[in-house]
Symmetry: C2
Amino acid sequence: MCQLLGMNCNVPTDICFSFEGFCERGGATGTHEDGWGIAFFEGKACRVFVDTQPSANSPIAELVKNYPIKSLNTIAHIRKATIGAIELSNTQPYRREAWGLEWIFAHNGDLWNFNPTINGAYQPVGTSDSERAFCTMLNSLKKKYPDCPPPLHIFQKELEEICNPIAEYGTLNFLLSNGQVLFARCSTELYYIVREAPFDKAHLKDKDISIDFSQHTTENDRVAVIATEPLTDNEHWTKFEAGQLITFKNGQVL
Amino acid sequence: MCQLLGMNCNVPTDICFSFEGFCERGGATGTHEDGWGIAFFEGKACRVFVDTQPSANSPIAELVKNYPIKSLNTIAHIRKATIGAIELSNTQPYRREAWGLEWIFAHNGDLWNFNPTINGAYQPVGTSDSERAFCTMLNSLKKKYPDCPPPLHIFQKELEEICNPIAEYGTLNFLLSNGQVLFARCSTELYYIVREAPFDKAHLKDKDISIDFSQHTTENDRVAVIATEPLTDNEHWTKFEAGQLITFKNGQVL
């Protein structure tokens, strides 16, 4: 099993505080030490850092912690290998271009015996169930909408319809973004919080670090953070329902 | 215009020495300071670092210099923007998955008025001539070989046939790799060197740094380095001919 972290905002925001706590779960406070990755959308483009070392002591994670990249949509993943060897090709998040946009996907959960015929242009590079699910989703959407994606409310419905049968193979918690919105789907474990004015202090659960968001924000800022387990111990996080898919845009639930 | 650096080897090798000199051209010894990127194949997977800051003083370039990633195929690019704004979506190398393999592409040169109809699944995310060329190449190949790529000698011929009409729009020097081989095409400026036993010392042209390769290699190692301009001043680099496309495999010309 793995852990997910996502952030969707209305102004470009760095994820340093949340990532600091999240990284600890990759080898320090958690056993998700079989690689990690993070993707930052910057405009239409996306920057992805991945490493097969545990996030708690990866030099690349150290760089990411100390080099604040501001983004409207960020997705991070720490891995505990179950299906697929510990190697870079099985390290998430995964990335594909579709309709001239970058798509980033990270999955938590196991999809046992999920070996669909890959029917379309998107083919897995590695051997994980997660990448097979991502390619299946994109191939289905591209088959139905070859030229451009449908409007957002239809896209969400299509995504739900594609995901539900895949989720029957096991557990399908995931984060998916095209840089404009962030989709979060829950089978079992996923929480979110929306931070907006009046901003307050937050304290990490995995490391004794606090931040006073009121010192780093304007009153119009809004940030949604989504994670497998709440990252702070003094805020209220909302648990997703089983089977729920939420679209986040501009830092709020759409 | 931009500069290219590629490395193809028979054993995983780090590019630190060459990259150290190459980086200087992005803001120190050269004016290619509008972003840079480097892609390392590790097995079937690929790790790409990109930044819009000049390579000579980018914190990510600093990490890459000090974190030796060993790879059979590496492609780096430093940019001097001509077509397409200075932003991450126009920062090379570009990446796409095709036939279950990652493909990495970096281009040097300008393709003026190259605005083809994009006929296929691969669409540009940014606005550069280079990404349009890459997508056009992949779409043409995928159209003719939808299920799997042809054998290597046919693939090279197909690639040449696709590239020649594109090159008529201007200058098409490029590096392309799928992690197994590295294709290098020259319109105007491209050099290569094959280093093998007996290994000797090399001295960078852009920074006063030397290396004695005999201290870092075994007698079976073989490394081909390809660059827009020779990186060392005490070795013999071979200049490509205009229109020449060379396939490198296991550190040698195929």
